[in-house]
Amino acid sequence: MTEMENFYLILTIFCGIFTVINCTSIVKPRGIAFERASLYVPDKDFSCFDGSSVIPFSFVNDDYCDCPDASDEPGTSACPNGTFHCTNAGHTSLVIPSSRVNDGICDCCDGSDEWANNFRKDTCDNTCEELGRAAREEAERVQKIFVAGYEIRAQLIAKGKELRLEKQNRITELFEVQREAELAKNNTLYAKETAEEIEKSVLEKYKVMNDEKKRQENESEKLKDQNDAFEMFNQIDTNKNNKIEEEEVDAYSAFDQNNDGKVSQDEKDYFMENKKEISLEDFMLNGWSRLKKLIFAENVDVKETEHPADNVDNDKQLEEGDLDENEDESESVDDEVKYTESDELDESQYDEETKLIVEEAKQARNAFEEADRKFRDLQREVTHLQESLNKDFGPEDEFAALDGECYELSDREYVYKLCLFDQITQRSKNGGSEVRLGTWNSWIGEPKYRTMLYDRGQHCWNGPQRSTHVRLTCGLEPALLSATEPNRCEYAMDFVVPAVCVQDNEMLSAPVTESEHDEL
């Protein structure tokens, strides 16, 4: 540093001390808004605003913090908790923390925060005019959007009210139809039950016949197996002493499972259970089943190798996971199972009368199913409408018209799809299945109706369920502007929509920066 700069240093300190003294009658204290200048009276001692102490007025803005509330140093960086007010003529005034005074960064567009450094050339140019103009133009542009957006919003509100009314009317209407449908359902149910009662009683004898036939079949099956066993025993028991000995096993090629030309000790031991001989009785009770296993062992192996592949598929499904299971669908699957059971009887053996009764029962069933389906469809529609009516489409239903509307955004890797009040998905451009980033839950945060929460999305590997916050701002055309993942599996989206084009609310949702400055 040169001597010259040293001189500036001293000048800087002196300026801090003396500007106020020399200039009080001409200018307001540095860093104070005009409205508050009257609080600083040069010819009197200064009382800290918090009343903690009284100091000579020369201590005001002398670059030393005397008041715990920082009121004596509005224009310097001396107090850790102070603020500095810049007038920024031509633009908006600004309040900054004292620590930003004379730190070498131009925070005020009029450069007033860098007063000590402005001795050096070009430290902070006054850019207020320029910035002010740009800000006003921007404000105007935004204002225009708001005005236009507000009109669209009004239309949306009207549409929303209309939709609400429509839904309510439809529900009233449906209630009437539903009542009739329920009646029809009950009637057909009665007819069905009656017809089935009759059907059941005439089918009883066929059922008894059928059971008897099955029993006989089973019995002959068993008999055949025993005959096979006896025949096999006799084949093996070559010396016909009613016992199977080791030598006989050795000689019988069916035991040679590994096809090496001889029956191994292992093979033999398995069959003989380490015994020297097997009696006919023992063979019939146990040996035969072991022998069958030996002979069919190959088949078992084949089945086992199929399993791992199944598992892979299952895992994959689990991972993709949480597919909505439709309650209705699973019910109907159950029903089908029931019908196939009762269809076991062979219809061809029925006599004419029985055929007629069965046909009648079938028709009654069909009639009931038809009536039941109608009723359930109506029920579903009512539930859907009620749910829709219960959804929070904003204080004036301004979002109702957008219910279910979808908007896409495509970035480098993914296509994001936001379906309002429904769900959000992400599709990789490299293929693969769609991933659900969340299902509509509710409005969150303050101000209300500016942030939507979609949660309960698909699970992340080793992590939580995906969720998304959608921030809404005013725009004329609904559009998805951005999609990011600030935390693992927690997404954030920006969405513009005319439904939020209300100035008052917009002020509330302004960036934190400004409200924070107000506090300071």
Binding site: D63, S77, S99, V512
Partner: protein, 865 residues
């Protein structure tokens, strides 16, 4: 190694060579008549001995000596020597006497007639010479020629080559050092458990309170007792195990074996603290530093391995990190929020995701398309950027670095001589062989502005994963039979791989600015000597109170072992801290030398404003406190560079005679000035702090209330309280105008906090320079000493000529004096007196001298009247 077969090593009397600088002799091994070893003992300056033992004559393979750890060739000092038939007697610096016994070979070292340390007193010395692989392998050598770890084979083509030595620290009562382990500060007996292990590893979710190997290895041991302190530095880069005995074990009870030994021997001699170092290969090479005080030992150790060069000031401020800030907009948003919430912050960090597909020295073309603009946004507020650069190189034929490495043969080889391939962040990777000087030079040049496109001199470097981490390797590292430049096996050099990388990075950053700007590097792997190049953090810790607690002994152990610039991830790397833990971690982390918050990619965002108002406020407060104390931290680091004194210290360093302090590792000192007793447990409203020293006063830094108790005392510590105490007798320079970043505070005025002792005296010092360049080495700095005595505060600027500062003295606070003064006068540079007003606060007995308004580099005296 075979423990049953006792080896007797003896000096060969005829071979002894005595000069005034060293003692040399051959050592015979009773098991191998044809193999003799050569030992050499050097006397070094500042009460230090060095003993080396290698095989005499030719060997089948070169034994590696990690001289990289040493700052320079140690300076020898004259010894006087005498010998008789059975012993040799050496004398160093008058007060040190070494007795060398010929048979069996052993050493006993006396300091001021006090038996301080014995070498090979337990006859555990070992030196396995290289030998041809035998036809059939003896039972006791199974594992010496081939070994399996899980599915990995270590082919061990060179066979057994271990070295070992035992040390008895007779005058010590406690042992310290041997970082890096997640264990208590005072080392524990390893009887009944594994020894402390040195083998640099990328440990996933490491466990606490054991001797498992971690990311770094500093084979430095310190013994301390009321009588004196002593250090042992085992210079070996191979896998090393250290058994500790004669001190308390994990259970706080002596082991059964020790109890029996004591019973039998009838004396407490077996309770002598002892250490048994065993390394897989290399030579026996160790240094003994003979103190006699803890700060003498650290100075002696520092003169061997070097000190941390004064860091650029920003690196002592607050660092904001996360794996990962997603893109340049994210970086900008986070930075902006620090200003919105008025929280100072100096450095934003980028983890691996900023790269183009984990290719280091590149940028993601979409997410970080404008790195220069991003850096300029930061520097416009005086901030910096740190980016990660790991040593694994993506095997990608479109990657210039990989192609360069293949074309110029820069990679580590596998046992068959092909380029080694492992798996790391980029997938298939190879590893630069930093043992090769060609690689050192090539890698350094990658950091030049021309080569690392985008950055400026305001980007600094984070070298991670440099153990090296290999996801599919044995114990997540490189196979031991890989081959490095010079035909060394990886087993020979493993523990210095990370050191070699940061040496190259340091060189690169130096060259980037033509040697003008001080580099800043953070490394995970470390070895003795790493302090000369990089700061160290304690790796991938967890958001858990136990990990907050362990950060103290981990950094203290590193600090006394030469590596002062240490910190732990604030908040914990894995998992999510609740706000209480996060607040307490900030309050504690603000008093550790390296202050950075960091989080795993799977954790929730945890920037200070994401919780509630109180949390934001308290974290802001913790960080701001750090910024007010930056002049102290900077002065302490300057002092460390000159003397090796650890920047943070265990209590016993300052109060070596107070035995109650030996196990304390939940408190520490910042320099010799601040006593930090942080809250390390959940739900604490009150905690017990130990106040050391018999004639000390400790002043609460918030209330200035004096504490004169020696011993334990209950302290109220609600969530907004950080129990920190300024030692009576010290003067702390502070800057009270906390700005957005430290650079912006450069010209700000100082407030001096004078805390008087029982004799109403206080002393302190202040170091100032340009905070970023090496100009201070050309004398461009200011050094001031302060003394308060006889109601006068005297500022003596001892070195002021060659550096100018705009800073001045805005306030002087004198703590602990009675209310008898009504005003003060100041005399500057021997000129006339001017009057200053004073303000006395009767509640806390603090006298404030209002606005001396004198340039900080002036000589002046303030007199209280």
């Amino acid at each position: 190694m075979n423990k049953n077969q006792k080896t007797a090593f003896e000096l060969v009397p005829d071979s002894v060579i005595l000069t005034d600088k060293y003692f040399e002799a051959l050592i015979s091994n009773s098991n191998y008549d044809d193999v003799s070893l050569r030992m050499r003992l050097d006397g070094l300056k500042d009460s230090t001995l060095r003993l080396r033992i290698n095989k005499d004559g030719n060997q089948m393979y070169n034994r590696f000596q990690p001289v990289h750890a040493l700052v320079s060739e140690p300076i020898t000092e004259t010894m006087t020597m005498a010998r008789n038939a059975s012993t040799v007697e050496l004398e160093l610096s008058k007060v040190i006497k070494v007795y060398i016994t010929i048979a069996p070979f052993k050493l006993d070292v006396y300091v001021n007639k006090e038996l301080t340390i014995g070498v090979n007193n337990d006859n555990l010395m070992q030196f396995e010479h290289y030998r041809p692989k035998p036809e059939s392998i003896a039972d006791n050598e199974i594992g010496s020629w081939e070994e399996y770890f899980k599915e990995h084979q270590d082919s061990k083509p060179r066979g057994p080559s271990a070295v070992a030595m035992d040390f008895k620290l007779y005058s010590s009562t406690s042992l310290y050092g041997l970082p890096e382990h997640a264990d208590s500060l005072a080392l524990k007996s390893t009887a009944g458990s594994d020894p402390y292990r040195f083998y640099n590893l990328d440990v996933f979710e490491y466990e606490l309170y054991n001797g498992m190997a971690l990311y770094g290895a500093v084979p430095f041991l310190m013994g301390h007792g009321k009588k004196n302190s002593v250090g042992v530095f085992w210079l070996n880069a191979a896998e090393t195990w250290v058994d500790i005995a004669g001190v308390k074990g994990n259970t706080d009870h002596p082991s059964v074996v020790e109890s029996i030994v004591n019973l039998v021997s009838g004396s407490s001699i077996e309770n002598v603290p002892r250490a048994h170092f065993m390394s897989e290969c290399g030579i026996i090479d160790f240094f003994i530093m003979l103190g006699p005080k803890p700060l003498d030992v650290t100075r002696q150790y520092s003169s061997l391995t070097g000190t941390t060069p004064l860091p650029p000031l920003f690196s002592l401020a607050y660092h904001q990190c996360r794996w990962n800030y997603n893109d340049q907009k994210d970086v900008h948003d986070v930075e902006t929020n620090f200003d919105v919430y008025d929280i100072p912050m100096d450095v934003m960090w980028l983890d691996i995701e900023y790269t183009d597909s984990k290719k280091y020295f590149t940028w993601d073309p979409v997410k970080f398309s404008e790195p220069l603009e991003m850096v300029n946004n930061l520097t416009s507020k005086g901030r910096k950027l740190v980016t990660i650069i790991d040593p694994h190189i993506k095997r990608d034929s479109n990657y210039f670095l990989h192609n360069d490495a293949i074309n110029n043969d820069l990679y580590v080889k596998n046992k068959d001589g092909d380029v080694y391939e492992g798996w790391c962040w980029p997938g298939s990777s190879s590893y630069l062989d930093f043992m090769n000087p060609k690689v050192q030079e090539y890698y350094a040049s990658r950091y030049s502005i021309d080569n690392f496109v985008g950055p400026t001199e305001d980007i600094f470097i984070w070298n991670d994963m440099n153990e090296p981490s290999v996801f599919n390797g044995p114990e997540v590292t490189m196979p031991k039979d890989c081959i490095h430049h010079g035909s060394y096996e990886h087993r020979d050099i493993h523990n210095i791989y990370g050191l070699l990388q940061v040496m190259s990075t340091y060189d690169g950053l130096m060259k980037r600015s033509n040697g003008k700007k001080r580099p800043f590097i953070l490394t995970r792997s470390h070895f003795a000597g790493t302090q000369r190049f990089a700061a160290v953090w304690t790796g991938d810790n967890m958001a858990d109170w136990s990990h907050l607690k362990i950060s103290l002994p981990m950094c203290l152990s590193l600090a006394i072992s030469g590596i002062s610039f240490c910190g732990a991830d604030v908040g914990g790397f894995f998992n999510n801290p609740d706000k209480e833990l996060l607040i307490r971690w900030y309050q504690t982390g603000a008093f550790l030398p390296f202050f950075r918050s960091h989080a795993h990619i799977d954790t929730k965002r945890r920037e200070p404003w994401l919780f509630d108002e109180q949390t934001t406020f308290l974290i802001r407060d913790a960080i701001r406190t750090r910024y007010t104390l930056l002049p102290l931290w900077y002065s302490l680091f300057k002092n460390h560079e000159l003397t090796g004194s650890p920047v943070i210290r265990p209590l016993f360093f300052e109060f070596p005679y107070e035995e109650q302090l030996n196990d304390i590792d939940n408190e520490f000192m910042v320099g010799n000035v601040l006593l930090v007793c942080p809250v390390l447990d959940q739900n604490v409203q009150e905690l017990t702090c130990y106040f050391p020293g018999h004639k000390e006063i400790w002043y609460d830094r918030d209330t200035y209330q004096p504490i004169k108790t020696n011993g334990l005392m209950k302290i109220q510590a609600p969530i907004n309280k950080v129990p920190v105490y300024q030692r009576g007798g010290t003067i702390v320079p502070t800057k009270q105008r906390v700005r957005r970043s430290s650079v912006l505070m450069k010209d700000d005025p100082y407030t001096l906090i004078v805390a008087i002792d029982l004799k109403a005296i206080a002393k302190g010092s202040l170091y100032i320079d340009d905070e970023e360049s090496f100009e201070y080495r050309n004398g461009h700095f200011i050094y001031i000493e302060y003394e308060y005595i006889n109601n006068q505060l005297i500022s003596k600027c001892l070195h002021c000529e060659d550096f100018n500062t705009k800073s001045w003295v805005e306030k002087v606070m004198i703590i602990g004096i009675p209310n008898v003064f009504t005003k003060a006068s100041i005399q500057v540079n021997g000129g006339g007196l001017s009057e200053l007003s004073v303000l006395y606060n009767t509640h806390n007995q603090v006298l404030t001298v209002r606005k001396p308004a004198v340039g900080i580099a002036q000589n002046w005296t303030i007199t209280l009247l």
